[in-house]
Symmetry: C2
Subunit: 348 residues, 2 copies
């Protein structure tokens, strides 16, 4: 694997940044969480005049062998159909990226039934397929370690090839069955019991959920002893998830602000965090998903999400929706008057 050179944030000017925030014309701390985000972005960009430039969203799509065993109420072909929907500008992530001026890239990381002739040639559609979906990890590794490394490296390269002057990037995913993959990654990277890692995904009923838990337990029992991140990601990961891991690590190496979405994206983040804990300093957690395990992931990482809207859609929608609040946290630092500038008396 590429060795990612993620730098620890320089905290030497943190008091300067905090002073700027504290002398804006508002009661001390009155902008709450936005003040924390603003401070973090000052540190990431090493400046008291942080900037949100060319926000980008990469949606990685791939299929999963485990979907053949029936872990989702949707048929596997929906992964392909949703990619067409992304390219036709009809999905939720399209709408929210359009609204908030986010440049959207869709990456075929390994979609099974895709037909490129259906998609108009487009520099926002990236062909990076590692195969027609992963193998079914119920009985075998999802991919080889070579494929896993390739996914991570490709994710990193795709980001760098398209990043231009972007200072902030979010990642989304599409892949029928990928909450199963994410649940196992969560379990291996956090040691939280598998039951707490498994949720209803796109909408399983009680019986479906029970079956999913049993299947994932069996998958684990059938697997050999695995422990290092590369082994875990090879055995239970997905092409889209593993590309996202590489892209996240690269974003942090680039000193970009890294927007983390919901359950699957946070599973990828757990892997990135396991490979290089410093990635967390660049990450903003955009929302708490309604998918059961997500709250426990956030607790494990000791992080707070910006939004809690009971979203469980994926595609990076939580990132796209949170962006205006991240923008606000930068704007207040750059644009609000200080008590001195405005000639206002501070607290007595």
């Amino acid at each position: 694997m590429k060795k990612f050179q993620i730098k620890e944030l320089d905290k030497s000017k943190i008091n300067n940044y905090q002073h700027i925030i504290d002398t804006k014309t508002k009661p001390l701390g009155a902008l709450g969480f936005l003040e924390k985000i603003g401070l973090q972005i000052c540190l990431i960009q090493n400046t008291s005049k942080p900037q949100i430039i060319t926000p980008q969203m990469y949606v990685f799509a791939a299929d999963h062998g485990i979907a053949e065993t029936g872990v989702s109420p949707f048929p596997q072909k929906v992964t392909t159909q949703m990619v067409y929907n992304f390219m036709g500008n009809g999905a939720a992530i399209n709408i929210f990226c359009n609204q908030n001026n986010i440049e959207l890239f869709v990456v075929d990381s390994g979609v099974k039934h895709i037909n490129y002739q259906v998609i108009t040639e487009n520099n926002h559609f990236i062909k990076a397929s590692l195969g027609k979906g992963t193998k079914n990890f119920l009985t075998q590794p999802a991919m080889t370690q070579k494929e896993c490394l390739e996914a991570i490296n490709n994710g990193s390269e795709i980001l760098n090839k398209n990043k231009k002057n972007s200072t902030i990037v979010g990642f989304g995913e599409m892949g029928i069955g990928n909450t199963s993959s994410a649940a196992l990654l969560m379990h291996y990277f956090t040691n939280i019991t598998l039951e707490k890692c498994v949720g209803r995904g796109t909408g399983l009923d009680d019986e479906g959920l029970k079956k999913k838990i049993e299947l994932l337990k069996t998958s684990k029992n059938n697997a050999p002893q695995i422990q290092n991140p590369l082994e875990i990601l090879s055995y239970f990961g997905g092409f889209e998830i593993n590309m996202m891991v590489g892209a996240m690590l690269q974003a942090a190496e680039n000193k970009q602000i890294l927007l983390v979405d919901g359950f699957i994206a946070t599973a990828a983040f757990l892997a990135a965090f396991s490979i290089e804990p410093l990635v967390k300093e660049y990450a903003i957690f955009c929302h708490q998903s309604d998918e059961n395990g997500h709250q426990f992931m956030l607790e494990y990482l000791k992080v707070e999400p910006i939004l809690n809207l009971n979203l469980r859609l994926g595609e990076g929608t939580g990132c796209a929706l949170a962006l205006p609040l991240v923008q606000a946290s930068v704007n207040f630092i750059n644009q609000m008057a200080s008590f001195e500038q405005a000639g206002i008396e501070n607290r007595v």
Copy 2:
């Protein structure tokens, strides 16, 4: 008082709207709270193609007699200075309104030390002062019932005079001491114990908070028996709060979407709700403030806020920050493809 003609929402097409939401290309319910907001706006506008047009924000500013007794760590002159800051485009509400394309009006509802010569003539500054601040309700009514009625009527008229084609409006406030007024309104309109209604405002320490609670208890003990909304608003309200009550009721009469901000704005909403409960059908609660009593207000009203960012700034900042999410809830309904349009298979 003007009799506000607020119509109950027509629910006859609710199943049609819900069907449109449910057949968008996403798992059922996966957009969580945004789906509820989108449905509410369809009902308010009586259409399956809801629109956010010309969002407006009115910040009502006024001074409070109780501030002379020392209920805030900031001196009373700050109300005036912050109005100048609003007109100089330097306050948080300016930044967030600019970011999210919200038309901002600042209303002098009764600011004590204001000098109009300092303010450049401007059709977004509205002179509607009812006096140089209210009287101190520690020993006397804040205003006469005639002044209270005038405030409510003026709030209504200001909204209608400036509304143009706006379909959505938020209200903010500025007034040193106004968390004290809002705490008493909350207490009278909800019957929640006064201790739970009183918070730190702009940042009182423990001793200051204790003193504030004692002062507000004494104010209550000194007051005569009051119970109807007009009596309560006259005795303990503020010029800015009471104007907001009128503006909120008018917004609902106009079938505008009503964005409710934090502690003080929700106190005004409690009064509006007490006058005409149907106002709630038009209201979206933008955030849960860090001010102690706000969570209890929201519980009393049985409503959920969009954001919970530990904000406690007022000025309508919570509304301005929540607007992009309200916009997203309308955009997904208008712009997302349905399963049928996108040729995607729905759940099996």
